[in-house]
Symmetry: C2
């Protein structure tokens, strides 16, 4: 691609957001970052990658629980030190995200990238969601779990992602106005959703197909 | 259009959702319903149109206030009779919406149409949002008010729409997963957003432009 674009993707667990991000990166010929970000942040910080994986997209350990159960319970599950170290991990990851975005066009999945890069005019933010039944089917296949386990995993992971996003940004996870564009994958399916998002990026870059005149 | 489509549009106040709905209806050659629904519902019910206008997209009078202020205040502002009559208005309007959708392709703005028509396979639901600055500018121009008044009107109208939607549906107003597709008008502007939504409808109907192969 000639023009620079940074696409950030938020997604419901099991929605197909990761697959869409990878296929979109391939279609646009740009770099895709997801879990790779942790390795980069770890390298920057000098800390172990394990450490980052443990904290990845989780609000400071007590926090996501506190968001669900109410703050009086917070003291039982977290400590001031936990909060501090998770916040430091977030800062390392934010630095890694800003460096990657400065290097050139890319797609970044999760990790509040839309908020971290909010002042970058090349940034477009997406939120990917899907029908509940399709998500459960995807989780059952991808994680090798039962339907009941898939449903529990789906609810818990979304809660955890929402807590992380709502804690580190001034926006709300999954709310339409937090993103430039949100789409239900079940309408067009994965591959055509990728094509459709690509056409949005092309329009944004003023490279509309000829038939639009 | 040959194939039937029912497009429902939810929208932030001042986002341009109404203008987009009208232009989209024109582009697709289908009927547009917004405030017209009230006249139809009034005709069905034998009640005055004024009566419907007063209750339009407001949850039972005390309810939207109760959602904001907490339920203890509810008794001060509503009565059982109010709740009953507003619920009856909602039912008349729902009937009108179902009849229109049965008649043929159309666009329906607001009034929980996405929920009322949730089992109709021809139905696609959209949520239109916009940058705060653009919305205020649109409201100032459209309602002939000051910037401060526009901001207040924006916040109050959105709260009222959310209360209405959240009361009458099992979904949440403005949350991405409540709709098939949500878009920030500021990225492409009104006219190209209309074109882009039109391309989504065409894809859904499998009438993709030739260059997509």
């Amino acid at each position: 691609m000639d023009d620079k674009v940074i696409l950030t993707i938020g997604r419901q667990f099991g929605s197909g957001g990761r697959e869409i991000g990878q296929k979109l990166a391939h279609a646009l010929g740009i770099v895709y970052y997801d879990k790779e970000l942790m390795a980069l942040a770890a390298k920057e910080s000098g800390l172990s990658e394990e450490f980052f994986k443990k904290a990845d997209e989780r609000a400071s350990s007590g926090l996501s629980y506190a968001f669900t159960m109410g703050f009086p319970y917070m003291g039982l599950f977290s400590s001031y030190t936990d909060v501090l170290s998770n916040d430091r991990l977030f800062l390392y990851q934010s630095d890694a995200i800003r460096k990657l975005a400065a290097e050139g066009s890319c797609i970044i999945v999760g990790r509040c990238a839309d908020y971290i890069l909010r002042d970058d005019p090349a940034c477009l933010s997406f939120f990917i969601h899907n029908r509940k039944e399709n998500r459960i089917q995807r989780i059952v296949a991808g994680e090798n779990v039962t339907v009941e386990q898939a449903e529990e995993l789906m609810t818990k992971t979304d809660k955890s992602r929402a807590a992380y996003y709502n804690y580190y940004t001034n926006k709300e996870w999954g709310v339409a106005s937090s993103y430039n564009f949100s789409i239900d994958v079940s309408v067009l399916g994965v591959d055509e959703t990728v094509e459709f998002i690509q056409s949005f990026v092309n329009r944004k870059l003023n490279r509309r197909p000829p038939h639009f005149g």
